[in-house]
Amino acid sequence: MMEKKTDMSVNIAGLKLKNPVIAASGTFGFGREYSALFDLSRLGGIAVKGLTLEPRKGNPPPRIAETPSGILNSVGLQNPGVHAFIRDEIPFLRRYDTAIIANASGNTVEEYEEMVRILSDADVDAIELNLSCPNVKEGCMAFGSTAAGITQVVSRVKPFCKKPLIVKLTPNVTDICELALAAEAAGADAVSLINTLLGMAIDVKTRRPILGNIMGGLSGPAVKPVALRMVYQVSKVVKIPVIGMGGISNGTDVVEFLLAGASAVMIGTAGFVNPYAWVEAINGLEQYMLENNCRSVAELTGGLIV
């Protein structure tokens, strides 16, 4: 057997991951379901289901529509609330050797601050600020779609944040680079992108929208070229690490995002089709690194030849 000389680990602003593949928030719950299928310790990290201060019931069904090479979702941040997460889910996740990234949302700037204060004292490895959910009326994208909104929230929470702070960006804007620069200037330790693209689907038989909430967020292979382009653009203008996501399904896709400038990646929708997508992507990346004599993931990050 060939001796493995690759180092898959990455360090994202103090967040140490054994490999750069993270389960994307909203697609992986709190890991319980997938733990029955594979060892969660294989993952670099898990970005848990988006959390809010109070439990949320989420949006009316249907919450998913299939589109060419992708899906629209409008779950609307259904979650048990941050306190239930800390009490019930962290002890479970800590059984595994993988980083826990808490994804936090708020309706108001005050709620974002409260969330960051609570999660800073919880046993999580990083906080991902969700400033980009397209499926809720208040907060999130309302803040996250302008540089001023991002500056307001990030500068407000930063003084209380004791964990690496990742800001998740929406692609539903004219210039995502502006948002990334605003996040960086306000103190973000990293940015993650892209959240879903706002879209809709219509059933011509009923003449109604397929989604109960009319509009939803597009994800899956359909968005990959857009995501890759945005990761490329953002990583050129910011100095903080970029976590790339959007339609990643396998190891080759991971390498593409790393070359475009990502330091780590998140995978979500692909797991609905292939529940082993995360593990296969990690194996695929490792194989690529071995075949191409890459000693570290950092060697690939931003390695695009243009």
């Binding site: 379901e33 299928l37 019931k57 060419p68 992708g70 979702n73 292979p221 609905f272 529940p275």
Partner: protein
Amino acid sequence: MNLIHRVGAVNRLNEETFLMTIDSPEIAAAGRPGQFVNIRCGGPDAYLRRPISICRIDRERGTFDIGVQIRGKGTEALSRMRPMEPIDIMGPLGNGFSLKPEDRRIAVVGGGIGVFPLLQLLIEHPASEKLALLGFRSRDQVVLEQDFQMACDELLIATDDGSYGTAGFVTSLLEKKLGEKTFDRVFICGPTPMMKRAAAILLERNVPCEVSLEQRMGCGIGACLVCACKTRAGDDWDYAHVCKDGPVFSGEAVIFD
């Protein structure tokens, strides 16, 4: 979980439905009536898996059947699969019907393609008296009549247009039968308006019932939270998830909007 199984046979039941037999000793051994499998139909036009109920299980042969209505590109692709082809299936998934030995008299109420999961339930249920009430749009939509006949003591069929069996809705058959006798539990699967009506009829008479729900799904295992359905939670309500909490729920638990 092994995902790769093999197509055994594909048989047309009528213009828009077919029965597929799948060779899978694992799923045949583990599967229970009312559970479902999540099938990758393939191609960029059918990105998501399709959740389909288990219709019948042959544990000795290590096979199970699914009944499928061709509704779109995914099920269309599935209908064109041939024996011996590999097929990517996650399953068995979800919670099936309850098979309680103390339920001596049971009935199933099925509508359209909702009849499929009720077949294995009738085959396996230990009850001493089993009634099947099945409703279809018209004569050409009637499926698996002989199979149901063999699995129960009495089979009554209703068609919307009266072209076969009793004319009218299957819920009318249910009301009529409830005038003659009662049941320890009734199992319902079909279009939402039919399930809503049937559950209301039974709950009014204090007859326990279970319903098998359908909703657009993502992961199929409870992680993505898309297949929400309204259920009672104390005095309040909440969204449960069809894939993990169901697809079978007690009739009292579900809020049909």
